[in-house]
Symmetry: C2
Subunit: 470 residues, 2 copies
């Protein structure tokens, strides 16, 4: 080891340690991605980084290629699951782009799939950046001759891995695949730092220096909010989107039983067919979400579905991207997840109460559309219900709850306080229904004045959707 490397390594170590200690006060996550066709170099570079940082506070996410084919959730799911929280640092080996490149090499993805996945990668990275993540991506390459030399050296040692041999033989083929992908997955904000790895010490020093520069330049505070609340109060008079009137109900008990039985049969088929389903319910307090959900699952096997009630985020959830807690609850193939309130809280309560800044909730429409597109792209059935009641009906229901012993707990002062914000909520609801009513995720906006009719309608909508899908 030349003295100059030792010296530079030592000073990098101290500087990076110092930055690492300050991470917590910056309150933002750091993600370092180490990818590239230099398989051995990637591993060694990460090992070196672990000696420069305090390894106890670095989370290495090393994804095995084996995990990929058995994936029974949208392909980016595990990367969302493992996102670092604010103040944490993660290093990713075999990241999303590397996964795409491997898939491209092994499975001959068609052009349309490839293009869609590249788009999803860009959406994913942009969502992280926008949320304040420092994302630093390295692509480690080796010249063809260095590759060959290294292989020859390894061939008779215990470190020899036939996969390296294979990777080398595919060298040219791989370049042809990854170069366009790299070009399409970078922007000035999140470039690929291309690192030549023929000299391993130089490679690691360059990586370390780059990380240090990025950390040094990094703002402690979030960028200034540039958005403004564009809510048009003229909008706020009423829910403007087409309201679906449920069919009148003649014999509720019989219709309910029939629909529940039919759904049970369909969900058993969905389980066999590995069809996953997401139903989400939104609506003002007392709109009847809970009642509709209970009727929906009444005949279903409890092991097959899961109800996720969404309340205010806890500390761990607040420390992550707002979509993180929903990604973690995405059903595995064959299962049903029901969200009682959902990610739309970002553009409803968080907007109205000011928990999300204008620029945050404004970009959320697109982020949510992208997120839902990934769900349906994976093959998941997505049903979005908005249960609609007006202000007078809500008041009547609040008062009725106060007279019913086992429903009194459902009503608090806060519910009445929220009513004062009615027009602000109406503006937010109209915005939401307008901006997130997409082809892949259409809203079903139900008039829920008649509770029973609304419940039957929900069941019928799920049944109809499943029938077209199975």
């Amino acid at each position: 080891m030349p003295a100059s490397f030792k010296k530079q390594s030592q000073s990098l170590h101290l500087a990076l340690l110092d930055q690492q200690r300050q991470l917590h006060s910056k309150n933002r996550p750091v993600m370092i991605v180490i990818a590239g066709d230099d398989r051995i170099g990637r591993q060694h570079a990460i090992n070196r980084l672990m000696t420069w940082f305090d390894p106890r506070f670095v989370r290495v996410n090393a994804y095995t290629p084996q995990e990929q084919p058995s994936s029974d959730r949208p392909w980016l799911w595990r990367f969302w699951r493992d996102l670092p929280a604010a103040g944490q640092l993660s290093i990713t080996l075999r990241d999303w782009t590397a996964t795409l490149i491997t898939d491209g090499l092994n499975q001959d993805l068609d052009d349309a799939t490839l293009a869609r996945r590249i788009e999803q990668i860009n959406q994913f990275e942009q969502a992280l950046i926008d949320d304040g993540t420092l994302l630093i991506k390295f692509w480690l390459t080796l010249s063809e001759s260095a590759h060959e030399t290294r292989l020859t050296e390894l061939r008779h040692t215990p470190y020899y891995d036939p996969k390296d041999e294979l990777a080398f033989r595919r060298y040219q083929q791989a370049r042809a695949i990854y170069e366009p992908i790299l070009a399409q997955t970078q922007t000035p904000e999140r470039p690929w730092h291309s690192i030549q790895g023929d000299d391993p010490q130089q490679r690691d020093l360059t990586i370390g220096q780059t990380i240090l520069e990025q950390l040094n330049r990094w703002q402690t505070h979030r960028p200034l909010e540039t958005g403004t609340d564009t809510a048009d109060t003229a909008e706020s008079s009423a829910i403007k989107v087409r309201l679906r009137q449920p069919d009148p109900v003649i014999d509720y008990a019989q219709q309910l039983e029939d629909a529940q039985s039919e759904l049970q049969t369909l969900m058993n088929r969905a389980f066999q067919a590995k069809q996953s389903v997401i139903c989400l319910f939104e609506g003002v307090d007392a709109a009847g979400k809970g009642g509709a959900i209970r009727r929906l699952v009444h005949h279903l096997d409890a092991g097959q579905y899961q109800i996720v009630p969404i309340a205010a985020p806890d500390e761990a959830e607040k420390a992550h991207h707002y979509l993180w807690r929903f990604w973690r609850q995405i059903p595995a193939d064959g299962h049903l997840t029901i969200f009682d309130r959902s990610w739309y809280g970002r553009v409803l309560v968080e907007r109205v109460e000011g928990y999300a800044s204008p620029s945050e909730w404004q970009r959320a429409y697109q982020e949510i559309n992208d997120f839902e597109a990934q769900l349906t792209d994976h093959g998941c059935v997505l049903l979005k219900f908005w249960l609609h009641i007006d202000q007078a009906e809500q008041l009547a229901r609040f008062e009725a709850r106060e007279r019913t012993p086992h429903k009194q707990h459902k009503i608090t002062d806060e519910d009445y306080r929220n009513r004062k914000q009615w027009s602000a909520y109406e503006a937010a609801i109209n915005h939401m229904l307008t901006h997130t009513d997409t082809e892949h995720g259409p809203w079903i906006v139900l008039d829920a004045l008649d509770k029973k009719a609304a419940r039957i309608s929900v069941l019928k909508a799920v049944i109809a959707k499943l029938k077209t899908q199975l």
Copy 2:
């Protein structure tokens, strides 16, 4: 449905809902287990419970038998992972005992394995009960004739499942296996409620009533603490357990490099052999735990190990059994997890600072021994290091840290405050080393006065242990 069932069902629904709402204030978890040879009945009973409770706040843990053979962690791991937090209610389908019975039926477990697993079940349940969990276990049976009738009815419907047929044919064989297991996995505190399921309505009413009675009787507060702090201050003069003196170090750099390389080779073999390893480090502040850990992992592949620094538990961790957060971090086969501080905090800081009551930390010795026995029983290598320095050396190191710019952050007023508790800590340490130095989990108590020698010693101990194991 006879009117009387409808009426009883409705009143159970209201009463259970009411109890469910009060759960949060009780600050303890509820676990309901539904097992039995009545496969269809089990499922229907859970479905009924979901209509009586508010299903949004019930977590159903339905384990698939398929999960079992692929398990690469101790067999009770997933049950620990999914424990409800205080204030939560879970229903478990195919629980630990059911898993054992299925294994008994399918794999012909030898008597010794069976006996050990029964013991582990009792330890597991007792640990939960002691921690304040309300555990209610049901065993659903069907008479042989009812079983046959039900099968005949099902045979030409879509609900027919060949597995039910198989279960019926094994009826007598299964009874012979499960009856002794049930007898051995109950105590008056946690009995199996045996429910005859020939009449499904009666079955569900009995289950509902039993749950209601248990919830009604349940104390809001934890049982009175009966233990007393038996710490003998005479003990507290010094660390009494045999202290291992590390070999003197001649050429540190060379010895370190050699040991790290050897460990690297061994860990690669461990990965191939699917050998999991746990190393835990305890010791007073400034004993050199972090430095020893950094040297230990220096040559290892970052994807193969994980360092888990243990700090004060967060809110979610506090709401669970204290071992829960450690169970979740148990390495999968082939991986290494290093705990920088560990579950021994229960009998060290939590004892000394009074976060755990005397009866809590006193029973922790046995709970920890049981926990570690499960790790080694699964085949995991367990190494427990206590790095020892005396009070004078600690003070010298604190002062040295204050003079070193990149170590100043490591020293806070709290460190000095902790020093005042030195004798209380010494008593706790002596107790711990005496009560948890077991055959399967022996302590390696290292004199860490010479940092470099201690680091080499740690490496050598891990190497020696791996060599005997691989």
